[in-house]
Amino acid sequence: MSATTFKGGVHPAEYKELSLGSPVEAYLPKGDLVFPLNQHIGAPAKPVVAKGDHVLAGQLIAEAGGFVSANIVSSVSGTVKAIENRTTISGGRADCIVIENDQKYELAPGVGTRRKAEDISDEIIINAVKAAGIVGMGGAGFPTHVKLMPKNKNDIKFVIANGCECEPYITCDDRLMQDHPRRIVDGLKLVLSLFDNAQGVVAIEDNKPQAIKTMQEICAGEPRISVQVVQTKYPEGGERNLISVISGRDLHLGQLPADVGSIVCNVASLNAIYDAVYKSTPLMERYFTISGDAVKNPKTVIAKIGTSASELVEAAGGLKDGATVKKVLCGGPMMGIAMGTLDVPIQKANNALTLMTTDPVEEAEKVQTACIRCGRCARVCPIHLVPQMMARDAENGDYEHYEKIYGLDCISCGSCSYVCPSKRPLMQTFKQAKAVIMARKKAEKAAAAAK
C-alpha cells in the first residue's frame, strides 16, 4: 500500500530516535499530585471531595460540570491537601485539587473489576467512558463520551485510530502501539460496536515500521479494521487532515468530525477506553515522553496524571551535565506551549515535555525581517489558507477581513512559521487574533443577551 497524504505540510527533523530506544517504565510520583479542574474542553469539573478527605486511587474527585465536560479521578491514594488556585501547564491559573500521595496506591472499590465481552452494551460503553473521565489524549482534551454520542449515529463511516504522531520528538503513541496493540484494537472495536455502518482505520505514519508491523499483525483477522499507512509529514495527525486523507471529506469551521461521517480517536484514548470498559479502570495514567537535547536519558514513561513536570524530568535522568535549558515546551516543538516553570502538573491531554538548549523563537527574533510575500506559508498551510494575508490583517487589527479569509479556520499547526524565510511569528499572531476575535464575539453575545 502506498503512503497517502494531504496537500501542503512540512518535513521538520524528527528526533524520534532520542527517546524511542529506552524501555518504558512506570514512574511513581514522590510529591503531591495536582488535578486542575479545567483539564478538558468545556465546563470545568466540580470537586466532590473536601480538604482533609482520604481518597483512593481511581476514586472520583471532581464530576463533570456540564454536558461537555469530564470527570476527574485521583491517580493515587492519599489525602486531599487543598483545593486552591494554582498555575497550570499552559501558564494560566485554575482551581486545582491537591492530593498528598500516601505511596500505598490503594485502589477504590470496583476499580479493576473485569467485564465480560458478552455483558457489554452501547450504554455500558458510554457510561464507562464517561465515568472514567476520558478525554481526547492527543492534545485537544475533548471529552470522549461526547464524541461517541453524535446525533447522526448511522452516518458515521469511519472510526479513525490516530497513531500518526507527526510532532517531532514525541514517541509515546509509537511505544503504546508497539507495547499494547491488542488493547488499542479492542478499544477500537468497542467504539466500532457503537456505529454499525462504520469501518475502523488505524492511521500510522510510515516512519514507525515497528508499530505498523505489530498493528497489521493484530488487525489481520479483523474484518472491520484496516491499517492505513500515511506519509510522514507534519501535520499528518491533525484531525482535519487525517479525515481528509482517510475519508476524502473536508472539515470546515464549526464542524465536528462526526458532521462529515468520521470519529477520530487517539490511540492513547482507545487504550483508555479499553481499560475503562473491560477493566473498569478510569483514566489515571498515560504514556508520556520526556525528550529534547537538554535531557540526559530521553524516554517515554507511564506517568500518573497530576505528576509534577519537574519530577518527570528527573525520571528521565534530569538535565544533561552542563546543559542550560533555554526552552521548555509542553508538547513538541511545533505546537507545544512554552512553559515558564516546571512546577506544574501534567494533565490528561498532555503527551510530552521537550527541553531544549536553544530557543528557536529567540534565534528567529534576531533575524526577523518584513514579509517578502514569497507565498511559502500559503503553499504549506495544510488547510489551504493564506497566512501572509491573515498576518497583515491581524497586525493591522482588521479582524473583520481576517474572519472573511477564514482566519478562524487556522489549526495553529505552525507550519507557516516553520517555513517563513523572514522568520515572522505567524502562528503566534494567529493565535492572538483568534483569541481577540473569540473574546469580542463572547462580549457581543453577552451584550445581546443582556438586552
Binding site: 499552559s90 501558564g91 494560566g92 491559573r93 506551549i337 512554552a338 512553559m339 515558564g340 516553570t341 530557543d359 523563537v361 529567540e362 527574533e365 511569528p425 503566534q428 499572531t429 493565535k431 492572538q432 483569541a435 481577540v436
Partner: protein, 263 residues
C-alpha cells in the same frame, strides 16, 4: 490671435461656471446648526473617540442637539467645557480632570523575574501565551500595548513599567481598555495619593514575586482618619470621594506602595 481666442473662451467658461456654482451652492446649501460649527471649533480635534462618538464632528453635532453633556469631552477638560457651555448657553457643569494611572511599580529591579518571554512584543500576546517576564500574575508586563494605544504620547515604558505623563494625559481611556491586565485606571488629577500595586495575592505570596507589592497589612486603613482607605481582596483602595490628601497612609505604608504622585 489663436491664443487670444483660447484665453477669452476659458475666461468666459470660468466666469459662467463660477456664477453657476455660487448659485447652486446657495440654493442647495445644507443648513448647519451654527452652534454645531461653533462647538466643533472649540473641540480639540483629536478624533480620539473617548467621548463615545465617532470623532469630534459627531460629538459637536450631539452637543448641538442636546444629546451629549457640554463637558462630555474628556480630552478638552474644563477649559473646553467652559467654552462649549458658553456657546450652548447653559450653565457649566463642573468637570473633574482625570488622568490615567498605572497601578504597578514592578520595575526591573523590584519585580522578580524567572521567565524570559520571547515572542510578539505585545501584552495581549504575552497573556495569551501564558508567559510573562515577571512572576507577578497581576503586574505590568512592560511590552507597551498601552503605549501604542495612546493617541497623545502620554504613556511610556520606563524601566519595565508603564508610566503616565500626567501633563500630556487627556484621560481618553484608550490605555484603560488596551491593558490586558486591567491595571490602568482614571483617577481625579487633584488627588495626590494612589496605590501603585494591583496584586490580589496574600502578603506572603506577594513578597515572593515583588519587593514593592501591597502586602495587605491594613496599616493604611488604620491610619486614615476619613475612612477613605480600605483593603479589599488583599489590595489597598483609596476612595477619592473621601480622600483629603493628608498623606498619612503613604507615610506609614511599610512597602511604600502608596505613592505621592507629585510633590
Amino acid at each position: 490671435m489663436g491664443i487670444l481666442v483660447a484665453t477669452v473662451c476659458i475666461a468666459v467658461i470660468g466666469l459662467l461656471v463660477g456664477i453657476a456654482l455660487v448659485n447652486v451652492g446657495k440654493k442647495f446649501a445644507v443648513e448647519v446648526n451654527p452652534k454645531e460649527a461653533a462647538v466643533r471649533e472649540v473641540l480639540p480635534g483629536n478624533n480620539c473617540g473617548a467621548c463615545g462618538h465617532a470623532g469630534c464632528d459627531a460629538m459637536a453635532a450631539a452637543i448641538a442637539r442636546g444629546e451629549s453633556p457640554v463637558n462630555g469631552c474628556p480630552v478638552g477638560g474644563e477649559p473646553v467645557a467652559k467654552q462649549v457651555a458658553e456657546i450652548m448657553g447653559v450653565e457649566e457643569v463642573s468637570s473633574v480632570k482625570k488622568v490615567a494611572y498605572v497601578r504597578c511599580y514592578g520595575t526591573c529591579g523590584n519585580a522578580v523575574s524567572s521567565v524570559n518571554y520571547v515572542g510578539i512584543k505585545d501584552c495581549q500576546a504575552a497573556v495569551n501565551s501564558g508567559l510573562s517576564n515577571k512572576d507577578c500574575a497581576y503586574g505590568c508586563l512592560g511590552l507597551g500595548t498601552c503605549v501604542r494605544a495612546c493617541p497623545f504620547d502620554a504613556i511610556h515604558i520606563v524601566d519595565g513599567v508603564a508610566r503616565v505623563d500626567r501633563k500630556a494625559c487627556k484621560a481618553c481611556g484608550k490605555c484603560v481598555i488596551a491593558c490586558p491586565k486591567h491595571i490602568i485606571e482614571l483617577l481625579p488629577d487633584e488627588n495626590q495619593f494612589a496605590v501603585r500595586c494591583a496584586n490580589r495575592d496574600t502578603g506572603k505570596n506577594v513578597k515572593k514575586v515583588c519587593s514593592v507589592g501591597c502586602i495587605a497589612c491594613h496599616i493604611c486603613e488604620k491610619q486614615c482618619e476619613y475612612d477613605a482607605v480600605h483593603v479589599v481582596n488583599n489590595i489597598s483602595h483609596i476612595d477619592y470621594d473621601k480622600c483629603q490628601n493628608c498623606g498619612k497612609c503613604a507615610a506609614k505604608c511599610p512597602v511604600k506602595i502608596i505613592e505621592q504622585r507629585f510633590a
